[in-house]
């Protein structure tokens, strides 16, 4: 798997949203679909593409199948962290400059 494959897979905004849903841990297709304005089969299809790109993996959990960000898919981890730290530092700056507490 290359970074490029991963980036291409995430170029689709809906697919990116599906991927984002897994930021907090493993989720079943139904749980992801419930939080998005797309159908369950559509979510399944996006997950399939993300899995092919090495971004997500799945495992059985009881009777359900859950999806999670693939720890072997280093590209996905890096993409996630890059975005995460970007968001975090933006929020940090906003807080630092709030109420003129900078002095």
């Amino acid at each position: 798997m290359t970074y490029q494959t991963a980036f291409l897979a995430l170029a689709d905004p809906t697919r990116r949203q599906v991927f984002e849903q897994l930021r907090h841990g493993a989720k079943a297709v139904g749980v992801i679909a419930a939080q998005m304005p797309v159908s369950r089969p559509a979510v399944s299809q996006h997950l399939g593409i993300l899995k092919k790109a090495g971004l997500v993996a799945d495992r059985a959990e009881g009777t359900r199948r859950v999806y999670y960000i693939d720890p072997h898919g280093l590209a996905s981890i890096r993409i996630w962290l890059d975005q995460f730290w970007g968001d975090a530092l933006t929020a940090f700056k906003a807080e630092a400059e709030k109420e003129g507490m900078g002095k």
Binding site: R23, G25, L74, F92, A96
Partner: protein
């Protein structure tokens, strides 16, 4: 060996070096993106214990806690190195250590450049492979079960 480029970010804030360091560490819950908590319950506080070896953990509104890592280097107000110990599926793994170094560079009395580097990311993949290998290999579960059997029949 696979390597993966570190994540590097920087931001310049209108705050003194000391203020920036304090806000980053002691008041992390004020700015940490709430959507990124590893807790089931909403985040109440994010704690960085102010010393080398101090824990870095989240406390939820329901009182539950979840560790993210620990403090590797503590040099207020210039520099901080945190161990980020979350695996690819966001579980705390004491055997996994990736480093987040944060440098606070005073540009003036009330302006600070914050540079962040998150490195050793390939360890997440190595560790995941290790865990899988351990469980699959004869030395993994088989050995554990053998030991259990010995114990149970002793």
């Amino acid at each position: 060996m696979i390597t993966i480029a570190p994540v590097r970010k920087q931001v310049t804030v209108s705050a003194s070096q000391q203020r920036a360091f304090t806000l980053f560490t002691n008041e992390m819950s004020r700015w940490w993106p709430a959507t990124h908590s590893i807790l089931k319950s909403p985040l109440k506080q994010y704690v960085v214990e102010p010393c080398v070896g101090g824990r870095w953990y989240a406390i939820g509104e329901d009182g539950s806690t979840a560790q993210t890592g620990h403090v590797i280097e503590w040099q207020p107000p210039q520099r901080l190195v945190l161990a980020w110990q979350l695996s690819g599926d966001w579980q705390f793994d004491p055997e996994l250590i990736t480093e987040v170094e944060i440098r606070f560079i005073a540009e003036s009395a009330d302006s600070t450049r914050v540079e962040l580097e998150h490195r050793n990311l390939q360890r997440m993949g190595e560790r995941a492979a290790q865990v899988r290998g351990m469980v699959d290999s004869p030395g993994g579960w088989t050995a554990i079960l053998e030991a259990f059997k010995k114990c149970a029949t002793a």
